[in-house]
């Protein structure tokens, strides 16, 4: 009996650490949402890239975006859009198909690279496989690869670049250099992580000279940025709670991963200052995260590895009670699984849903291209992409024109009952239509039927007329 159980345990352990099994689980986690929502585009970012890529395909790279924020300078990272455009031109795959298919494919490739990188550092099989499973279940990873986002390609490229970097053959160094050259097209934060990681890697193997060519990339980026683009340092304000998935962060960290990482740091601290380089890398990464929340995708990678060490550390501690040890380990794993499953269950529904698409289609057919549609920030991209009309505001806040004024006005229009105030703002920003959704009426903006703008619309039929009213979605025209 004991032998049979031992055999079973060994078989399960072998399966658990088998790379193909890990990759299968990874792909399954990424693909499972497609089974529920179908093979369709999902989320604001996908629609944003769809619009930009099609625009580039038809009109070359523009310097002005006529639709976002009622019209603004074309200040976007072009990497993802150019990838879609080039693939479309070279391989003939439609942008829409790429937007749907690319995320799980890049997700799987990223997972394989992550595995290979860790393996080359000769981590034990348990830590290696735990790190991969934790990565698979992290909301940040799932967010990046269950639909097309601005992280999908740069995260993959960063892993690919580092994978090439740590290879011994010279050819891989060139390849790595090429990959890192591509990264600036996706945003400053991505190349920053890549080079930081490279720097610490060369420092740890005492071959800092090899980093010199890569250092030129950052100088090049800074020069080009300063001369032509003017993107700045990509510093974005955010709320502390956005860092945590459980507290409403769209791609926040799992709280339990943070707990595990604390134990992981405890495990590193066993060797005290011998691991100083890792602490430095970790602290600098935290600093970059403070500057830009998008750095979270890279912090997540670090925490997954630390978490795996933490899990091993907890398990190997000398516990007085084996029961408590096992229960605690199960709880921590359960917590990590819960975050992943929670993310997947929240994201199985297609976004935008049919009711919204119908309303947006109605807008497309009924209003002129010059008209500006006023709605909540969450619908701005859809107004641009599906209705092909100008929005008042969307999620691309960086370098948006009169942003502070717009945010102030948005608040005023939503909550003011004054017709004059509302009309003045509408005149100022040339707003001609208003899109109202059930979500806006049920907590996203208002809680009651007669608050602010809803009251103004209801009480002033001489100034506003409702053009569309289906399933709680309303389109109003400013007369």
């Amino acid at each position: 009996m004991k032998n049979t159980l031992g055999g079973l345990r060994k078989a399960y352990t072998n399966l658990f650490v088998n790379p193909y099994f890990i990759f299968f689980i990874g792909f399954f986690a990424l693909a499972v949402v497609y089974l529920f929502r179908g093979f369709v585009m999902h989320g604001q970012e996908s629609y944003f890239f769809y619009r930009i890529s099609n625009f580039v395909l038809e009109n070359n790279i523009p310097n002005y975006d006529f639709l976002s924020f009622g019209g603004r300078a074309f200040f976007y990272s072009l990497g993802s859009s150019l990838f879609l455009v080039l693939n479309n031109m070279l391989l003939g795959i439609s942008v829409e198909t790429l937007l749907v298919v690319a995320p799980p494919v890049f997700g799987l490739l990223s997972l394989i690279l992550f595995y290979c990188i860790l393996r080359s550092f000769k981590l034990s099989r348990n830590v290696l496989s735990f790190a991969c499973y934790i990565l698979i279940l992290s909301p940040v990873f799932l967010y990046s690869f269950t639909h097309f986002t601005s992280f999908t390609i740069p995260l993959f490229l960063n892993l690919l670049g580092f994978f090439f970097l740590i290879q011994k053959k010279r050819i891989f160094s060139y390849l790595s250099f090429l990959v890192y050259l591509l990264l600036p097209f996706f945003g400053f934060i991505h190349i920053l992580f890549g080079l930081l990681l490279g720097f610490f890697y060369f420092y740890s193997i005492k071959k800092l000279k090899r980093f010199v060519p890569y250092a030129f990339i950052i100088l090049l980026v800074l020069f080009l940025n300063n001369q032509f683009v003017g993107f700045g340092l990509d510093i974005i304000n955010y709320q502390f709670r956005q860092l945590f998935f459980a507290f409403g962060g769209e791609y926040g960290l799992s709280i339990f991963l943070i707990f595990l990482s604390v134990f992981g740091l405890g495990s590193l601290w066993q060797k005290k200052y011998q691991n100083l380089i890792y602490y430095m890398f970790f602290l600098i990464s935290i600093f970059f995260l403070i500057l830009n929340i998008r750095y979270l995708i890279y912090i997540n990678l670090i925490l997954c590895i630390l978490g795996a060490f933490g899990l091993r550390y907890i398990y190997k501690l000398k516990w007085t009670s084996a029961l408590i040890r096992n229960l605690t380990v199960i709880l921590l794993i359960g917590g990590v699984i819960f975050s992943g499953v929670s993310f997947l269950t929240d994201n199985v529904k297609q976004n935008p849903i049919k009711g919204l698409v119908d309303a947006l289609d109605f807008i497309e057919g009924r209003i002129s291209p010059r008209d500006v549609v006023f709605s909540h920030e969450d619908y701005g991209i859809y107004i641009n992409s599906i209705s092909k009309k100008k929005n008042f505001i969307d999620f691309n806040r960086a370098y948006a024109p009169r942003l502070k004024e717009r945010l102030f006005s948005l608040d005023k229009v939503f909550y003011s009952r004054s017709l004059t105030t509302t009309l003045n703002i509408f005149n100022e920003f040339k707003i001609t239509h208003i899109l109202i959704t059930p979500e806006m009426k049920n907590g996203l903006v208002w809680n009651r039927g007669n608050e602010g703008l809803l009251y103004v619309l209801d009480k002033n039929p001489d100034y506003f007329s409702r053009m569309y009213n289906e399933g709680g979605y309303e389109v109003w025209r400013v007369l």
Binding site: R241, I255, F256, T320, S321, I324, L327, L331, G335, G449
Partner: protein, 475 residues
Amino acid sequence: MKKKPLRILLVIFFLSLLFNLYLSFSSPYLNNDESYFNLRVIDNIKSTGLPIFYDQLSYGGRNLIVQPLFYYIFALLSFIPFYYIIFPALLVSSVIFISYFIAKEITSDEASSLFTALLVGFVPLYSKTLINQFSVYTLILPLIAFMVLCFIKLDDKKYFRWFIVGSIALPFIHSSSFLFIFILLFHLLLMNAENIKLTKLKKEALIFSFFFIFLINIMFFKQAFLRYGFDVVYGNNPLIYNFNIFQGLYLLGIIPLFLGILGLYQGFFKLKRESMVLISSLTLGVLFLLLFNLININLGLLFLSFGLVIASSLALRNFFIYLNKTKISHLKNLIIIVFILLFVFLSLIPTYTGYNKEFSDLSEIGWLRDNAEQDSVILAPLEYGHLITYFAGKQNMIDSNFLLAPDTQQRFYDVNLIYGGWSYNKAIELLKEYDVDYIYITEEVKNIYNIEDLEYLQDEEYIRGVKEGIYQFIC
């Protein structure tokens, strides 16, 4: 355990139980409308097997977060008549036994432990928060007290097992399980500060309970965390509790307060025993949460009183030791009688006089059940919200289940405006907005708002009196 102290302990227990039951049965209704919400959930469990996850009658329909264990335990006991009075009273009085054992662990003295048990049975605060209430706190207080006892005696396997069981049960009962982990973490901090080593088993038990309670609460409150973020600690509560330190201290009882502070001082600076540090952590931790408004005031005061009463045991023991060394040691019995008299005047009588029957006549709500249309919305003060849903089976405009409820601040303000305001037009506008059909305005309600009647009533065009204490809104 010796027979004599056991007998005394049993006498204290039965006295406390009888006291609680007497006050409960002398009232026509349970105090605190939340008691009736709890009864509704149990009724729902009995009929469907599940608690209420979506309450159609509250706020015109809203999602609820229900931690179900408390309800299932009482649903199982519901075949016993008056289970909602008898068992809460039993649970509250059971704290006497737990306190006795904790005090004994701290003092190793029989007499002071028994006095502690006596004090814990009659805390004036109980009359406001526990007596004649079918509240989850009646289970939480003894459970957390028991877990504190288990933690003190954790090296004993029996208590270790009970601690684990308690840690597993706690997050399924109430969110105050967070309070428990906060107390334990505070304990860890104080132990480190005092340079007292915590045994390995205790550290492990602490780690386990921390993660378990955290995980289960995250699962239960996922929706709330997503909606409110870190503000979830305020529970979407529109009432701003200003912790009135003097009123709070009076409710804690003068004896526990005086002796408790003395006991804490002696325990923390002189005794430095782990069990006493735990009680100090409980008291200081709860006080910290109360001062920063991070905890429900009733719950906070309950645990503060518990901590102070337990800490009193040390002051009592030291007092008796000191007494034995003085020339008046032969007057010990007389001093005990004086102490009992002080207890009667400063604890028992304030507990008795502090008890008020919250609801004396709810016949108008019965009328609403029989005469109002099924989908009617009844306007009643916040304190009556659950009574409307339980007795009348109609929709309320506001009740005390604030978490995930829509727009609580505005509703609370609007309800106050309708009752206490003077603008007819504003009132009509609000009544229309919330689709109110009836206004519940009995003498008790008028007393809440300190009004004779609705100030703005002019004619009977929109608001008509249909019965004493009920207006109908016609629009």
